[in-house]
Amino acid sequence: MFNRFCQYAALCGGALLLCCSLSARADEVQDANKLFKQGQYDQAMAKVDSFLAGKPKDAQARFLKGLILTEQGKTGDAIHIFTSLTEDYPELPEPYNNLAVLYAGQGQYDKARVALEMAIRTHPSYATAHENLGDIYAKMASQAYDRALQLDRSNTSTKTKLALIKELFSSDHSRAGTHNVATGTVNVAKPQPAAETPAAPVVTPVAVAAAPVVEPVPAKPVAAPAPAPAKPVAAEPAPAKVAAAKPAATNSADVLKSVHDWAAAWSAKNVKKYLSFYAPDFDTPGNESRSAWEAVRHDRLSKPKYIHVKISDASVKFTDDTHATVTFRQEYRASHLSSSASKTLLMVKSGGKWLILKEHAKD
């Protein structure tokens, strides 16, 4: 969903900068913008800085500087620039919007939300901010859901950030039709809220921006779940669920096979094979060392004259494509001891094989 986000940011940047060309005395900024689009950030920055040396308050130049910093990965500095723009020109929605994009990229959704709400407060009909705010809420919702369900997606925020930067500039060139928005923002001195401009120009860029969003989404594996298609709202969650369920159904047989093979190795008292079902980063009980744990297991498997491990009522739940939780009843019968327990294995797919990451018996 952040692909769309990024394009909006880019849209704002591109739109605002296009306006610069209308200004007779802004050649330097225009040149800087050209360099920026060519990816020559250092040169672009040098030009912008030299311009800002003479006109330190200029909004367009500072905005461009913010975009360059963003592209250079200097997120903190970029945030600083956009923040100071919102302080000096609180009536401009674009700096708020881009600030939100940067915060969102860092996973600071609360700050992103506040920034977007500010953009909307100054321009109640600023559709981009509304759309982005919707995305932020969806992202915050998914964070809360993840906490509720203990799903681990700790690595997605970095992905989001990278996607942001790439999208911001690759889409920049194709935004020729977006200049309409600019009229609302070019007048830095006495800005016209978007609400006062005719409705049509405000709506069109959003539609234009929304269309290409659909393509990049399928490419992203994790970060863009169900809500990705932007426009239709009514019936989309269902197909998404079907799609998610399918791989699970096909994979669960593999997982179960692994569990049964594990039990078979255990029953056969084949220590080496038994241990091969445990992932290298297996979470040993009580955090004992792997070797100490293996020694205990070696002992436990070797001592009894016989061992029978029977598994029943097994069910598999997938956290994602490579993580699954298997729950089952385990009947353990050995020459010296019998027990029955409800067992849960956390499993990870590694090198085409499902391995045990964590093991615990219940109650």
């Binding site: 919702a141 859901y145 906490r147 509720a148 029955s340 409800s342």
Partner: protein
């Protein structure tokens, strides 16, 4: 908030009538949290999203591990971005997990919407003895543990808590059936956190399952505990344990303050009945029968004494016939007997309207033998007559 203010009211009532010490247990926190959560859930249904989000956030600040609250927060946020299609609308959530949350939400909402039974007494607490400062009653059908204080032998409502019980329901019969037993139990011991696996949370109180009645019916299994919650979550779904009664850790610590090992009764039912007139008359009749049993024993009228025992009486392997024979033999050598009963407690058996568990301190004195013991009897009402069906040391 209505409920929370009731709790405060009851707190005020108690502070005037405190008999037994250690009454600083006012579990407002978990109730308040539940009320906030319930209000938020109702707000989702009514689309009052702003206030509800504040409520959920303040509740999560206190307890970030309250997973159900996180889920409700997700709904509150998602509702601003698209119309919700269901409770717990996380796009890729495992359905069984969401179903668990839905169960917990339903139970907690019900607990919030039903008035707390401050003026009712559960049917089971017929008589508490002076050393039993509190009694615990669990209703698995409502996922609730009720706490009662002993005020002159009568129960007074103090608090109630959300609990998790057996995955497969109530009425445990055998080992591994993942059910919570129904019956009259006592807290056997106390296990501190440091001796427990994380699953059991901040403490555990093993119960006396299987009791004498369970054994009579061959029910087995063991390790039915009151215990806490693993560190990574605030609460568990209503039906999730292997038979144990599970409380939130804060609640367990609250309840733990009043638990007296070996003394506190824990009565578990799956269908709470409240005390009524019939109940009171049954209790009076039973107490009268108990007194008559004592008198008949002391009178050395062995036939009268034996008439208090039911034909299907059994104490371990001893059946009525051998019991009668042995009593006749013993009594024949007595020139005098004195029996005194004290610390009597009586608990009606859940799901078994004509059965009661009677405990007392028995002071027995005679011409050739004296002893003092804690005794337990199970009395059963055949027709309108109470008789002893089990007797043994407690």
């Amino acid at each position: 908030m209505r409920r929370a203010s009731f709790a405060l009211l009851s707190a005020a009532l108690f502070s005037q009538t405190v008999l037994a010490g250690d009454l600083n247990v006012m579990p407002d926190e978990s109730r308040k949290m539940e009320a906030l959560l319930a209000k938020s859930m109702l707000a989702v249904a009514n689309s009052h999203l702003d206030l509800a989000l504040n409520d959920v956030d303040s509740l999560l600040k206190i307890n970030p591990n309250f997973k159900l609250a996180q889920l409700v927060k997700g709904d509150l946020l998602l509702a601003r971005s698209k119309p919700l299609t269901s409770f717990g609308d996380a796009p890729d959530a495992p359905q069984s997990r969401v179903a668990d949350f839905r169960d917990e939400a339903r139970v907690r909402l019900q607990r919030y919407q039903e008035q707390q039974p401050i003026s009712l007494e559960p049917r089971y607490l017929w008589k508490m003895n002076a050393s039993q400062h509190y009694a615990i009653v669990v209703d698995t059908s409502k996922s609730t543990l009720y706490l009662y204080q002993n005020v002159n032998g009568e129960p007074r409502y103090v608090a109630d808590y959300y609990i998790t019980s057996g995955k497969k329901g109530a009425a445990k019969v055998s080992e591994g059936d993942q059910k919570t037993p129904i019956g009259v139990y006592f807290v056997k011991s106390s296990l501190p956190k440091r001796e427990l696996a994380d699953l059991y949370g901040d403490g555990a109180y093993p119960l006396s399952y299987p009791n004498e009645w369970d054994r009579r019916f061959g029910r087995n299994g063991h390790g039915i505990w009151l215990h806490g919650t693993p560190s990574n979550t605030y609460s568990r779904p209503p039906r999730a344990s292997n038979g144990c009664v599970v409380l939130a850790n804060d609640d367990l610590l609250d309840v733990g303050k009043i638990i007296q090992v070996g003394i506190t009764p824990v009565i578990i039912t799956d269908n709470m009945h409240w005390s009524d007139a019939q109940d009171k008359s049954d209790r009076a009749a039973l107490l009268q029968s108990l007194e008559q049993w004592r008198k008949d024993w002391a009178s050395r009228d062995t036939d009268a004494y034996l008439r208090h025992y039911a034909p299907d009486f059994a104490s371990g392997k001893t059946r009525f016939a051998s019991w009668a024979q042995q009593k006749k033999l013993v009594n024949a050598h007595k020139s005098w007997i004195k029996v005194n009963l004290s610390d009597i407690s009586v608990f009606a058996y859940p799901d078994q309207p004509n059965l009661a568990v009677v405990d007392f301190e028995q002071d027995y004195d005679s011409n050739n033998l004296s002893n003092r013991m804690k005794k337990r009897q199970y009395w059963i009402k055949h027709g309108d007559r109470w008789q002893i069906i089990y007797e043994g040391a407690a």
